[in-house]
Symmetry: C3
Subunit: 134 residues, 3 copies
Protein backbone atom coordinates (compact mmCIF):
# COMPACT_ATOMS: atom_id res chain seq x y z
CA UNK A 1 0.00 0.00 0.00
CA UNK A 2 1.13 3.54 -0.65
CA UNK A 3 2.65 5.71 2.05
CA UNK A 4 0.22 7.99 3.90
CA UNK A 5 1.36 11.27 5.43
CA UNK A 6 -0.56 13.44 7.85
CA UNK A 7 0.28 16.61 9.73
CA UNK A 8 -0.12 17.70 13.32
CA UNK A 9 0.46 20.99 15.10
CA UNK A 10 2.15 20.77 18.48
CA UNK A 11 1.45 23.50 21.07
CA UNK A 12 4.02 22.93 23.82
CA UNK A 13 7.79 22.55 23.99
CA UNK A 14 7.34 19.00 25.36
CA UNK A 15 4.04 17.33 24.55
CA UNK A 16 2.49 13.93 23.90
CA UNK A 17 -0.33 14.04 21.34
CA UNK A 18 -2.72 11.13 20.92
CA UNK A 19 -2.76 10.13 17.23
CA UNK A 20 -4.58 6.80 17.67
CA UNK A 21 -7.78 7.99 15.96
CA UNK A 22 -5.89 9.27 12.88
CA UNK A 23 -3.89 6.02 12.59
CA UNK A 24 -7.03 3.89 13.08
CA UNK A 25 -8.92 5.92 10.49
CA UNK A 26 -6.15 5.50 7.89
CA UNK A 27 -6.08 1.76 8.51
CA UNK A 28 -9.87 1.56 8.07
CA UNK A 29 -9.82 3.61 4.85
CA UNK A 30 -7.06 1.38 3.46
CA UNK A 31 -9.39 -1.61 3.62
CA UNK A 32 -6.55 -3.76 4.99
CA UNK A 33 -7.91 -6.82 6.79
CA UNK A 34 -4.66 -8.18 8.25
CA UNK A 35 -1.07 -7.06 8.41
CA UNK A 36 1.16 -4.65 10.25
CA UNK A 37 1.21 -0.89 10.36
CA UNK A 38 4.46 1.08 10.65
CA UNK A 39 4.04 4.62 11.98
CA UNK A 40 7.19 6.66 11.41
CA UNK A 41 8.36 10.06 12.69
CA UNK A 42 10.60 11.82 10.11
CA UNK A 43 11.92 14.33 12.68
CA UNK A 44 14.99 14.13 14.93
CA UNK A 45 13.65 16.08 17.92
CA UNK A 46 10.41 14.12 18.28
CA UNK A 47 9.40 10.47 18.47
CA UNK A 48 6.59 7.95 18.74
CA UNK A 49 5.50 5.75 21.62
CA UNK A 50 2.59 3.65 22.83
CA UNK A 51 1.33 4.28 26.35
CA UNK A 52 -1.79 4.79 28.50
CA UNK A 53 -4.79 6.39 26.79
CA UNK A 54 -6.94 7.00 29.88
CA UNK A 55 -5.55 9.25 32.62
CA UNK A 56 -3.69 12.27 31.12
CA UNK A 57 -1.54 12.43 34.26
CA UNK A 58 0.46 9.50 32.84
CA UNK A 59 1.59 11.61 29.89
CA UNK A 60 2.43 14.47 32.22
CA UNK A 61 4.53 12.16 34.40
CA UNK A 62 6.32 10.66 31.39
CA UNK A 63 7.28 14.12 30.09
CA UNK A 64 8.30 15.37 33.54
CA UNK A 65 10.44 12.34 34.18
CA UNK A 66 12.04 12.44 30.72
CA UNK A 67 13.07 16.04 31.43
CA UNK A 68 14.70 14.93 34.69
CA UNK A 69 16.53 12.08 32.93
CA UNK A 70 17.66 14.34 30.07
CA UNK A 71 18.00 17.90 31.38
CA UNK A 72 17.01 20.71 29.01
CA UNK A 73 20.26 22.51 29.83
CA UNK A 74 23.57 20.84 30.48
CA UNK A 75 26.88 22.74 30.31
CA UNK A 76 28.34 19.70 28.49
CA UNK A 77 25.99 20.04 25.50
CA UNK A 78 27.99 21.19 22.47
CA UNK A 79 25.26 21.41 19.79
CA UNK A 80 24.80 25.09 18.97
CA UNK A 81 21.06 24.91 18.28
CA UNK A 82 20.42 24.38 21.99
CA UNK A 83 18.05 21.45 21.49
CA UNK A 84 20.33 18.54 22.39
CA UNK A 85 17.92 17.30 25.06
CA UNK A 86 15.26 16.87 22.36
CA UNK A 87 17.65 14.80 20.22
CA UNK A 88 18.55 12.54 23.16
CA UNK A 89 14.89 12.03 24.08
CA UNK A 90 14.05 11.21 20.44
CA UNK A 91 16.60 8.36 20.44
CA UNK A 92 15.41 7.08 23.84
CA UNK A 93 11.75 7.03 22.72
CA UNK A 94 12.28 5.81 19.11
CA UNK A 95 11.30 6.98 15.67
CA UNK A 96 8.60 4.41 14.98
CA UNK A 97 5.93 2.15 16.41
CA UNK A 98 4.63 -1.05 14.85
CA UNK A 99 1.08 -2.28 15.43
CA UNK A 100 -0.66 -5.47 14.29
CA UNK A 101 -3.80 -5.10 12.13
CA UNK A 102 -6.44 -7.81 12.60
CA UNK A 103 -9.83 -7.86 10.90
CA UNK A 104 -9.37 -4.28 9.79
CA UNK A 105 -8.60 -2.93 13.27
CA UNK A 106 -5.44 -1.92 15.14
CA UNK A 107 -4.71 -4.63 17.71
CA UNK A 108 -3.89 -2.39 20.68
CA UNK A 109 -4.32 -3.28 24.35
CA UNK A 110 -7.33 -1.83 26.18
CA UNK A 111 -5.34 1.00 27.73
CA UNK A 112 -2.97 1.67 24.83
CA UNK A 113 -2.88 4.77 22.66
CA UNK A 114 -0.32 5.89 20.07
CA UNK A 115 1.46 9.14 20.92
CA UNK A 116 3.48 11.61 18.93
CA UNK A 117 6.11 12.93 21.36
CA UNK A 118 7.16 16.51 20.71
CA UNK A 119 10.43 17.46 22.42
CA UNK A 120 11.24 20.76 20.64
CA UNK A 121 7.91 22.44 19.93
CA UNK A 122 5.71 24.10 19.22
CA UNK A 123 5.98 23.17 15.52
CA UNK A 124 4.18 21.82 12.48
CA UNK A 125 5.09 18.12 12.25
CA UNK A 126 4.34 15.27 9.91
CA UNK A 127 3.85 11.56 10.45
CA UNK A 128 4.29 8.79 7.88
CA UNK A 129 2.40 5.50 7.75
CA UNK A 130 2.96 2.34 5.81
CA UNK A 131 0.76 -0.77 5.92
CA UNK A 132 2.10 -4.18 4.96
CA UNK A 133 -0.61 -6.78 4.32
CA UNK A 134 -0.07 -10.37 5.29
Amino acid sequence: MQVIEFQIRTRQHNEMIDITAEVESIVEKSGTANGICLVFCPHTTAGLTINENADPSVRRDILTELSKIVPENDPDYSHSEGNSAAHVKASLISSSVQIIIENGRLLLGTWQGIYFCEFDGPRERKILMKIIEG
Copy 2:
Protein backbone atom coordinates in the same frame (compact mmCIF):
# COMPACT_ATOMS: atom_id res chain seq x y z
CA MET B 1 -0.52 -15.29 9.02
CA GLN B 2 -3.00 -15.02 11.89
CA VAL B 3 -2.11 -13.32 15.15
CA ILE B 4 -0.84 -15.60 17.90
CA GLU B 5 -1.34 -14.74 21.57
CA PHE B 6 0.31 -16.37 24.55
CA GLN B 7 0.25 -15.68 28.27
CA ILE B 8 2.92 -15.39 30.91
CA ARG B 9 2.78 -15.00 34.67
CA THR B 10 5.25 -12.53 36.17
CA ARG B 11 6.41 -13.05 39.75
CA GLN B 12 8.24 -9.84 40.68
CA HIS B 13 7.44 -6.15 40.59
CA ASN B 14 10.30 -5.60 38.12
CA GLU B 15 11.34 -8.65 36.13
CA MET B 16 12.77 -9.70 32.76
CA ILE B 17 11.38 -13.01 31.51
CA ASP B 18 13.03 -14.87 28.65
CA ILE B 19 10.36 -15.62 26.01
CA THR B 20 12.75 -16.65 23.22
CA ALA B 21 11.72 -20.33 23.32
CA GLU B 22 7.98 -19.50 23.02
CA VAL B 23 8.59 -17.08 20.15
CA GLU B 24 10.88 -19.57 18.37
CA SER B 25 8.35 -22.37 18.82
CA ILE B 26 5.52 -20.28 17.33
CA VAL B 27 7.70 -19.38 14.36
CA GLU B 28 8.53 -23.06 13.81
CA LYS B 29 4.88 -24.17 14.07
CA SER B 30 3.87 -21.47 11.57
CA GLY B 31 6.03 -23.11 8.93
CA THR B 32 7.30 -19.70 7.82
CA ALA B 33 10.57 -20.01 5.91
CA ASN B 34 11.45 -16.32 5.57
CA GLY B 35 10.03 -13.05 6.78
CA ILE B 36 9.85 -10.91 9.88
CA CYS B 37 8.26 -11.51 13.24
CA LEU B 38 6.68 -8.70 15.25
CA VAL B 39 6.36 -9.42 18.98
CA PHE B 40 4.03 -6.91 20.64
CA CYS B 41 3.27 -6.09 24.29
CA PRO B 42 -0.36 -4.90 24.68
CA HIS B 43 0.30 -3.46 28.17
CA THR B 44 1.38 0.06 29.21
CA THR B 45 3.43 -0.86 32.29
CA ALA B 46 5.58 -3.52 30.60
CA GLY B 47 7.67 -3.78 27.44
CA LEU B 48 9.84 -5.96 25.24
CA THR B 49 13.56 -5.89 24.63
CA ILE B 50 16.38 -8.00 23.23
CA ASN B 51 19.45 -8.46 25.40
CA GLU B 52 21.97 -11.01 26.74
CA ASN B 53 20.70 -14.57 27.19
CA ALA B 54 23.68 -15.99 29.10
CA ASP B 55 24.60 -14.42 32.45
CA PRO B 56 21.43 -13.55 34.48
CA SER B 57 23.40 -10.75 36.20
CA VAL B 58 22.90 -8.68 33.04
CA ARG B 59 19.10 -8.68 33.54
CA ARG B 60 19.58 -7.82 37.20
CA ASP B 61 21.82 -4.89 36.29
CA ILE B 62 19.41 -3.63 33.61
CA LEU B 63 16.49 -3.66 36.08
CA THR B 64 18.56 -2.07 38.88
CA GLU B 65 19.81 0.67 36.60
CA LEU B 66 16.36 1.35 35.12
CA SER B 67 15.05 1.85 38.66
CA LYS B 68 17.82 4.38 39.31
CA ILE B 69 17.06 6.22 36.06
CA VAL B 70 13.31 6.20 36.72
CA PRO B 71 12.74 6.20 40.49
CA GLU B 72 9.76 4.19 41.78
CA ASN B 73 8.70 7.16 43.89
CA ASP B 74 9.01 10.79 42.89
CA PRO B 75 7.04 13.58 44.62
CA ASP B 76 6.42 15.06 41.15
CA TYR B 77 4.43 12.03 39.93
CA SER B 78 0.77 13.01 39.58
CA HIS B 79 -0.79 9.73 38.38
CA SER B 80 -2.97 8.44 41.19
CA GLU B 81 -2.38 4.74 40.56
CA GLY B 82 1.19 5.10 41.83
CA ASN B 83 2.77 3.25 38.90
CA SER B 84 4.14 6.16 36.88
CA ALA B 85 7.66 4.72 36.96
CA ALA B 86 6.35 1.62 35.17
CA HIS B 87 4.76 3.74 32.43
CA VAL B 88 7.99 5.71 31.90
CA LYS B 89 10.08 2.52 31.72
CA ALA B 90 7.61 1.00 29.23
CA SER B 91 8.13 3.93 26.85
CA LEU B 92 11.92 3.85 27.28
CA ILE B 93 12.08 0.11 26.54
CA SER B 94 9.41 -0.03 23.78
CA SER B 95 6.28 -2.03 23.13
CA SER B 96 7.63 -4.29 20.42
CA VAL B 97 10.63 -6.10 19.00
CA GLN B 98 11.11 -7.15 15.39
CA ILE B 99 13.20 -10.16 14.41
CA ILE B 100 14.17 -11.52 11.01
CA ILE B 101 13.11 -15.12 10.16
CA GLU B 102 15.50 -17.03 7.89
CA ASN B 103 15.10 -20.67 6.88
CA GLY B 104 12.42 -21.13 9.52
CA ARG B 105 14.54 -19.80 12.40
CA LEU B 106 14.74 -16.52 14.31
CA LEU B 107 17.89 -14.72 13.20
CA LEU B 108 19.17 -13.63 16.61
CA GLY B 109 22.78 -12.99 17.57
CA THR B 110 24.59 -15.68 19.56
CA TRP B 111 24.05 -13.90 22.87
CA GLN B 112 20.61 -12.47 22.20
CA GLY B 113 17.37 -13.47 23.89
CA ILE B 114 13.91 -11.86 23.74
CA TYR B 115 12.68 -10.53 27.09
CA PHE B 116 9.29 -9.52 28.41
CA CYS B 117 10.00 -6.66 30.84
CA GLU B 118 7.53 -6.45 33.71
CA PHE B 119 7.59 -3.10 35.52
CA ASP B 120 4.38 -3.33 37.58
CA GLY B 121 4.01 -6.97 38.58
CA PRO B 122 3.31 -9.56 39.60
CA ARG B 123 0.54 -10.01 37.02
CA GLU B 124 -0.92 -12.22 34.31
CA ARG B 125 0.28 -10.75 31.00
CA LYS B 126 -0.22 -11.52 27.36
CA ILE B 127 2.04 -11.20 24.34
CA LEU B 128 0.96 -10.91 20.70
CA MET B 129 2.88 -12.16 17.67
CA LYS B 130 2.46 -11.52 13.98
CA ILE B 131 4.59 -13.01 11.21
CA ILE B 132 4.89 -11.37 7.81
CA GLU B 133 6.31 -13.65 5.12
CA GLY B 134 8.56 -12.26 2.45
Copy 3:
Protein backbone atom coordinates in the same frame (compact mmCIF):
# COMPACT_ATOMS: atom_id res chain seq x y z
CA MET C 1 14.04 -10.89 -0.13
CA GLN C 2 17.07 -12.61 1.35
CA VAL C 3 18.81 -11.31 4.44
CA ILE C 4 21.79 -9.02 3.81
CA GLU C 5 24.64 -8.76 6.29
CA PHE C 6 27.39 -6.17 6.36
CA GLN C 7 30.24 -5.45 8.73
CA ILE C 8 31.55 -2.32 10.36
CA ARG C 9 34.60 -1.61 12.48
CA THR C 10 34.04 0.66 15.48
CA ARG C 11 36.97 2.75 16.79
CA GLN C 12 35.78 4.12 20.12
CA HIS C 13 34.30 2.67 23.29
CA ASN C 14 31.12 4.71 22.73
CA GLU C 15 30.47 5.75 19.14
CA MET C 16 27.66 6.49 16.69
CA ILE C 17 28.49 5.47 13.12
CA ASP C 18 26.41 6.69 10.19
CA ILE C 19 25.31 3.64 8.16
CA THR C 20 22.68 5.43 6.03
CA ALA C 21 24.69 5.12 2.80
CA GLU C 22 25.20 1.36 3.23
CA VAL C 23 21.51 0.80 4.00
CA GLU C 24 20.43 3.00 1.08
CA SER C 25 22.81 1.20 -1.28
CA ILE C 26 21.48 -2.24 -0.27
CA VAL C 27 17.90 -1.04 -0.81
CA GLU C 28 18.82 0.28 -4.26
CA LYS C 29 20.62 -2.93 -5.27
CA SER C 30 17.63 -4.99 -4.15
CA GLY C 31 15.46 -3.27 -6.75
CA THR C 32 12.63 -2.94 -4.24
CA ALA C 33 10.19 -0.22 -5.26
CA ASN C 34 8.01 -0.13 -2.15
CA GLY C 35 8.00 -1.79 1.25
CA ILE C 36 9.72 -1.59 4.60
CA CYS C 37 13.30 -2.19 5.59
CA LEU C 38 14.23 -3.72 8.95
CA VAL C 39 17.80 -3.01 10.08
CA PHE C 40 18.78 -5.28 12.98
CA CYS C 41 21.73 -5.27 15.39
CA PRO C 42 22.62 -8.84 16.47
CA HIS C 43 24.74 -7.63 19.42
CA THR C 44 23.74 -6.97 23.04
CA THR C 45 26.14 -4.11 23.80
CA ALA C 46 25.24 -2.01 20.76
CA GLY C 47 22.07 -0.72 19.12
CA LEU C 48 20.53 1.21 16.26
CA THR C 49 18.86 4.61 16.18
CA ILE C 50 17.79 7.34 13.79
CA ASN C 51 18.91 10.88 14.55
CA GLU C 52 20.42 14.05 13.06
CA ASN C 53 22.77 13.61 10.10
CA ALA C 54 24.13 17.16 9.89
CA ASP C 55 25.99 18.56 12.91
CA PRO C 56 28.24 15.88 14.49
CA SER C 57 27.88 17.65 17.85
CA VAL C 58 24.43 16.04 18.15
CA ARG C 59 25.99 12.55 18.21
CA ARG C 60 28.57 13.73 20.73
CA ASP C 61 25.83 15.12 22.98
CA ILE C 62 23.73 11.94 22.70
CA LEU C 63 26.70 9.77 23.73
CA THR C 64 27.76 12.13 26.54
CA GLU C 65 24.22 12.29 27.93
CA LEU C 66 23.71 8.51 27.66
CA SER C 67 26.87 8.03 29.73
CA LYS C 68 25.48 10.37 32.38
CA ILE C 69 22.13 8.53 32.42
CA VAL C 70 23.83 5.11 32.55
CA PRO C 71 27.18 5.48 34.33
CA GLU C 72 30.05 3.33 33.04
CA ASN C 73 30.83 2.27 36.61
CA ASP C 74 28.26 1.68 39.33
CA PRO C 75 29.10 -0.28 42.50
CA ASP C 76 25.69 -1.97 42.13
CA TYR C 77 26.58 -3.62 38.81
CA SER C 78 26.95 -7.37 39.33
CA HIS C 79 27.84 -8.56 35.80
CA SER C 80 31.44 -9.74 35.92
CA GLU C 81 32.37 -8.67 32.38
CA GLY C 82 32.20 -5.03 33.47
CA ASN C 83 30.09 -3.89 30.52
CA SER C 84 26.68 -3.58 32.18
CA ALA C 85 26.35 0.05 31.11
CA ALA C 86 26.60 -1.07 27.49
CA HIS C 87 23.82 -3.63 27.98
CA VAL C 88 21.53 -1.03 29.59
CA LYS C 89 22.18 1.49 26.80
CA ALA C 90 21.48 -1.19 24.18
CA SER C 91 18.02 -1.80 25.64
CA LEU C 92 17.30 1.93 25.93
CA ILE C 93 18.28 2.57 22.31
CA SER C 94 16.80 -0.61 20.74
CA SER C 95 18.07 -3.41 18.54
CA SER C 96 16.37 -2.36 15.31
CA VAL C 97 15.08 0.48 13.19
CA GLN C 98 12.35 0.27 10.57
CA ILE C 99 12.24 2.56 7.55
CA ILE C 100 9.67 2.92 4.77
CA ILE C 101 10.86 2.35 1.18
CA GLU C 102 9.07 4.41 -1.49
CA ASN C 103 9.94 4.43 -5.19
CA GLY C 104 13.19 2.62 -4.45
CA ARG C 105 14.40 5.09 -1.80
CA LEU C 106 14.51 5.16 1.98
CA LEU C 107 11.84 7.56 3.18
CA LEU C 108 13.86 9.41 5.82
CA GLY C 109 13.30 12.97 7.00
CA THR C 110 15.65 15.67 5.66
CA TRP C 111 17.82 15.64 8.78
CA GLN C 112 17.64 11.91 9.57
CA GLY C 113 20.47 9.42 9.35
CA ILE C 114 20.66 5.80 10.54
CA TYR C 115 23.26 5.19 13.25
CA PHE C 116 24.94 2.09 14.61
CA CYS C 117 25.52 2.83 18.30
CA GLU C 118 28.59 1.16 19.76
CA PHE C 119 28.62 1.02 23.56
CA ASP C 120 31.41 -1.49 24.19
CA GLY C 121 33.98 -0.95 21.45
CA PRO C 122 36.20 -0.89 19.65
CA ARG C 123 35.05 -4.07 17.89
CA GLU C 124 34.16 -5.72 14.59
CA ARG C 125 30.36 -5.64 14.37
CA LYS C 126 27.77 -6.87 11.94
CA ILE C 127 24.41 -5.50 10.87
CA LEU C 128 21.52 -7.46 9.35
CA MET C 129 18.94 -6.15 6.89
CA LYS C 130 15.67 -7.54 5.67
CA ILE C 131 13.37 -5.91 3.13
CA ILE C 132 9.67 -6.74 2.97
CA GLU C 133 7.97 -5.63 -0.25
CA GLY C 134 4.43 -4.35 -0.17
